[in-house]
């Protein structure tokens, strides 16, 4: 096999890890609260700025700045739920889309106000690893590994703990949760914190590879959303599989054509899938 093609495949897998993390966060929120956070990738942007601000501006070491950013975005997630979602929970889906869509513009403008529209880099150069003829970016490899680790930890949490089991149960029968002694409001808030935390983790991994600017969310938001729909909205396994399909299309497609065209290809697949299998790969027909 062509070494460059191999490199594209490997990079596709590595990219898939972070995309899967983002898709998992969005799916978790959708599955439990039945709301799509349109501004999800903008939370990632907030986390990236937080790390930039802590590390590049104030010299906080990365190993401290990253957890702080995760907590920060988790709190943002809870605020999004408390201030925006919770008051309109019972209203029409279109209102919820408009509200979180409004948040997207708000966060973009707010970031521009604070940091300007410049591209900011934390200025950390990580090595390139050579395996035979293959060149792999250490930042990407680390992002992939940590993303996988994060997903395993989340999976254990959902599988082992009472609250985790309640999070999986609530999507299956919302009403009956009260009989189990579960306060749904509390589960929603915890889920929002988890969703925010996942965005925070993603931000720590992405800031090592990309410059941060107020519109960075647009590079990840639409593709994350397409992944979730492709996998079946609310299906965590579906999102995981779809993330790796999409990342291969982007990476290998980009290798054969251009990176712009590869996004067009990904979008085409998305459109075709919507017609062929609207419930997504792993979705249940409603």
């Amino acid at each position: 096999m062509d070494i460059f093609l191999l490199e594209a495949v490997v990079n596709g897998i590595l990219l898939g890890g972070v995309l899967a993390l983002l898709a998992l966060g969005l799916n978790l929120i959708f599955g439990v609260i039945d709301v799509v956070w349109i501004a999800y990738a903008e939370l990632v942007m907030c986390g990236m700025y937080a790390i930039y601000w802590l590390y590049a501006v104030h010299g906080v070491p990365l190993f401290l700045a990253a957890p702080m950013a995760i907590v920060f975005v988790a709190i943002l997630g809870m605020l999004v739920h408390k201030l925006i979602i919770s008051p309109i929970l019972g209203s029409a889906p279109i209102n919820q889309l408009l509200a979180t869509g409004g948040l997207l513009f708000f966060l973009q403008s707010f970031a521009t106000l604070l940091f300007g529209a410049d591209f900011r880099n934390i200025g950390l150069r990580l090595p390139i690893i050579e395996i035979g003829d293959l060149f792999i970016s250490f930042a990407r490899l680390m992002a992939f590994s940590v993303a996988l680790l994060g997903m395993v930890v989340l999976w254990l949490f959902l599988k082992r703990t009472y609250v985790g089991t309640a999070i999986r149960a609530i999507a299956q029968d919302r009403e009956i949760m009260v009989l189990m002694g579960v306060d749904p409001k509390r589960v929603y808030l915890i889920t929002s914190a988890l969703g925010g935390g996942l965005a925070g983790l993603a931000s720590a991994l992405l800031v090592l590879q990309y410059d941060v600017h107020p519109f960075i969310g647009l590079s990840f938001g639409p593709i994350t959303f397409m992944i979730c729909v492709l996998g079946g909205l609310g299906s965590m396994i579906g999102g995981f599989v779809a993330a790796f399909i999409m990342s291969q299309i982007i990476s290998v497609g980009g290798f054969y054509t251009s990176i712009e065209l590869s996004y067009v290809l990904a979008f085409l697949l998305f459109i075709v899938m919507i017609f062929v299998r609207p419930q997504g790969l792993f979705g249940v027909k409603s």
């Binding site: 009472y162 089991t165 309640a166 999986r168 149960a169 299956q172 029968d173 009403e175 009956i176 949760m177 009260v178 009989l179 189990m180 002694g181 579960v182 306060d183 749904p184």
Partner: protein, 234 residues
């Protein structure tokens, strides 16, 4: 133990229950019977907090349930086996049982109660890792009862546990309910199967379109000519 007085409840502008009063004493088994749409399920849902009351009082062991948030009612000792079982279909049997022990008071006793539920329903032990939605109706009913028992309730509400099951399985379910009685639980049960349920309860109330009609001991109702004609087909 449970005192319901002057209860009114409904959906939107529709009044499903009005002026319903009943009592259940500790150790008793009491049935609520009545035609379809009489409001039996509504009554159970109002007691367990799934539905708000419009008027009247529900007092459980001296606590007015109006003062307790719905998700705290199970901690007081009321567990509800809902109509149509309502298991979490994609969770395993054991995870469903775990949800029954969610409340902080129940969690430390999870392992011992799980053992106890498995000894009551050995079939559930065999099926512990099976996804609940793929089990037979009778097995699902056992799981739903087991889930309610995981909170070790003082009062067990059961809404038509025999509904939708084959006749042989119906007999098994009634045997289960009998065993639960023998374990010392206080039971308030709704049933369409009037003949069988009157064999196993101490007293019964007849709910007719939103309000209590007749009530009495099981023996009295079994010999009541109107009841015999309407519900026992004699």
């Amino acid at each position: 133990m449970l005192e319901v007085s002057g209860l009114e409840a409904g959906y939107g502008s529709f009044r499903a229950l009005h002026d319903v009063s009943l009592t259940v004493a500790a150790g008793e088994a009491v049935a609520v019977v009545g035609p379809n749409g009489a409001g039996k399920t509504t009554l159970m849902r109002t007691v367990s907090g799934l539905l708000g009351r419009r008027a009247g009082r529900i007092v459980f062991e001296g606590t007015d349930l109006a003062t307790v948030p719905p998700h705290r009612i199970v901690e007081l000792g009321i567990a509800h086996v809902p109509e149509n079982r309502r298991l979490f279909p994609r969770l395993t049997v054991e995870e469903n049982l775990k949800m029954g022990a969610f409340s902080p008071a129940a969690r430390p006793h999870f392992a011992e109660r799980l053992e106890w539920v498995y000894s009551l329903f050995p079939r559930m032990r065999e099926r512990r890792a099976q996804v609940a939605g793929t089990m037979s109706g009778g097995e699902q009913q056992m799981c739903a009862i087991g889930r309610a028992l995981m909170s070790k309730p003082k009062l067990l509400l059961m809404d038509e546990p025999s509904a939708g099951l084959a006749p042989v399985i119906v007999d098994q379910v009634f045997d289960l309910v009998r065993r639960i009685r023998q374990e010392g639980f206080t039971v308030l049960i709704v049933e369409q199967n009037v003949r069988q349920v009157l064999e196993l309860v101490d007293r019964a109330y007849v709910l007719e379109v939103g309000t209590i009609g007749k009530s009495g001991t099981a023996a009295e109702l079994k010999s009541d000519p109107a009841i015999r004609e309407a519900y026992l087909g004699i």
